[in-house]
């Protein structure tokens, strides 16, 4: 392709974008909205995954004891736990310790506990740490078999909950994204159809004087790609700005939340969105050209 021909294609595409002003704006808006939502889901899913793996590496096992044990029996359980392979640390927590921690966590809402009166429903427990994350599950299962142990809980459950949540978000996001992608595709192909229709006479003449199909197609393809790319660009700018703000806020108030750092995370998301946007644009054009121009 000659440079001059490329210039011609781009000039034609831009002229047609101008002539279709309102439809062009509608297309760009639809694409940017769709990609904004796609980007939000991407960021959400990736962050949830990130949190899940962060939690996975710092789990400990909590061993709840039956309520009717005496001190000697409790110590017996503790000794057994210490002997298990991989166990690095065992802390004993009395019922009273558990209650004071619980009160701490309730903070200003401690008043709720007055309803309990003097009874303390919380069990005594051990907090067990192991040397490697993959030891957590077998160690917890072994402890669960010990006499006097009510049950065991470990962070794995939270991790699994998180992974389940991620999966649900991912499915919901996927459905929404497919739907929105079709909407974007539809409106872009409609915009191009209007262009094709407005220029059908010109296209007819081009065919009579021997223009190849690709020569006729390119300006429309470029127009579609510009629409898709512009929409994606708007989405990328909005997402980057909001994610930066979000990270700032989180660092101030919820510093423990392990959000993925901005770079290179945002760059990667931006590239994905721009490629998807441009592809949707090209695809929308192709559909219209195939259906309405037969070139």
């Amino acid at each position: 392709m000659k440079i001059r021909t490329l210039e011609y294609f781009i000039r034609e595409a831009l002229a047609s974008l101008r002539n279709n002003g309102l439809m062009s704006i509608a297309s760009v808006t639809t694409v940017s909205l769709s990609l904004l939502i796609l980007g939000m889901f991407l960021i959400l899913v990736l962050n949830l995954n990130n949190m899940a793996s962060a939690l996975e590496s710092q789990v400990q096992i909590t061993v709840y004891l039956q309520d009717n044990l005496n001190e000697r029996q409790m110590r017996e359980v503790g000794t057994q736990i210490t002997k298990l392979p991989g166990v690095t640390q065992v802390n004993f927590l009395t019922k009273e310790d558990a209650m004071s921690r619980f009160k701490e966590r309730l903070g200003e809402q401690q008043g709720l506990l007055t309803a309990l009166g003097d009874t303390n429903p919380l069990p005594s427990s051990f907090e067990v740490k192991v040397d490697r994350p993959e030891r957590v599950k077998p160690v917890a299962q072994a402890i669960g078999q010990f006499k006097g142990v009510e049950n065991t809980r470990f962070g794995q459950e939270v991790v699994e909950h998180l992974f389940n949540l991620t999966k649900m978000v991912r499915i919901a996001g996927l459905i929404l994204i497919v739907f929105l992608a079709f909407a974007a595709l539809f409106i872009i192909s409609n915009t191009i159809r209007i262009t094709v229709f407005a220029r059908r006479k010109e296209i007819g003449i081009m065919k009579y004087v021997g223009a190849t199909d690709w020569f006729i197609r390119w300006p429309f393809l470029i127009e579609g790609m510009i629409l898709g790319f512009s929409g994606a660009l708007i989405a990328v700018l909005l997402l980057s700005k909001s994610y930066s703000l979000l990270i700032e806020q989180v660092h101030q108030s919820l510093a423990f939340l392990p959000l993925i750092p901005k770079y290179p995370f945002l760059d990667n998301i931006s590239i994905v969105l721009l490629v998807v946007g441009t592809t949707i644009g090209a695809l929308g054009s192709t559909i219209s050209l195939k259906r309405f121009m037969k070139v």
């Binding site: 000659k2 001059r4 021909t5 011609y8 006479k201 010109e202 007819g204 003449i205 081009m206 065919k207 009579y208 004087v209 021997g210 223009a211 190849t212 199909d213 020569f215």
Partner: protein
């Protein structure tokens, strides 16, 4: 130049537009195609530039079998042809110059070549001084001259015209016909469908008459032969 052998065209609705047509048109010929409406004249020229594909038969145009070429090669066939329509088919938002240059731009001709050729053909049709005018500011005859300039700007071996004077008054028609005559004198073959009895009778060119899809008459220095 053109060799049609046993060419038939049946449209998908079952109507037969051409039935077993065999004809030869030599290089440099000037041929009028005449006949009643719906006789198959338009189909006769449409199969030449592959606007329609024949159902049967072989059509050689300048050595190429038009009936068989791949769709991707159709543009290259058309580059060797010039086509003129009754309704001119100019682009209203492009100047006379740009309308003609358009035919060279879409085949990616070099800019200097375009400038030279467009000015040359505008001279030939007598519109060099209107190069910067928009078609809407021209008379019908002038618009058709622009269309002719566009048809010949790529140096076609064959010019196909579908009732080029159908929308023009007799004087203007005569001017247009003189331009075609000049183009023909330079060696370009011309095939023209027309309903213009006076013109055909006056020009004394070869006349092919088509009725019900068949060639019923093929006369050198022929006449129109129908009463309109």
């Amino acid at each position: 130049m053109i060799h049609m052998t046993n060419v038939s065209k049946v449209y998908s609705n079952g109507s037969a537009a051409l039935a077993d047509v065999t004809v030869t048109i030599e290089k440099g010929d000037f041929v009028f195609v005449v006949g009643p409406s719906g006789a198959g004249k338009s189909t006769f020229i449409k199969v030449l530039f592959r606007e329609e594909q024949p159902t049967n038969g072989q059509i050689l145009v300048n050595g190429r079998n038009v009936a068989e070429i791949k769709p991707a090669d159709v543009p290259y066939l058309r580059r060797s042809l010039g086509i003129v329509f009754q309704d001119f088919r100019l682009l209203p938002n492009k100047t006379v110059y740009d309308n003609v240059a358009f035919a060279m731009e879409v085949i990616e001709a070099p800019r200097r070549e375009i400038l030279k050729r467009v000015n040359h053909v505008l001279d030939l049709v007598g519109l060099r001084d209107k190069a910067r005018t928009l078609p809407t500011q021209l008379s019908g005859g002038e618009q058709q001259r622009v269309a002719i300039a566009r048809a010949i700007v790529n140096n076609p071996v064959l010019v196909i015209a579908d009732e080029p004077t159908g929308n023009l008054d007799p004087d203007t028609s005569w001017e247009i016909m003189q331009i075609f005559n000049r183009i023909n004198k330079s060696g370009t073959t011309i095939v023209m469908v027309t309903h213009d009895k006076q013109m055909v009778d006056a020009m004394k060119k070869r006349v092919i008459a088509i009725e019900k899809g068949r060639i019923v008459r093929d006369q050198v220095k022929g006449v129109y032969g129908y009463e309109d």
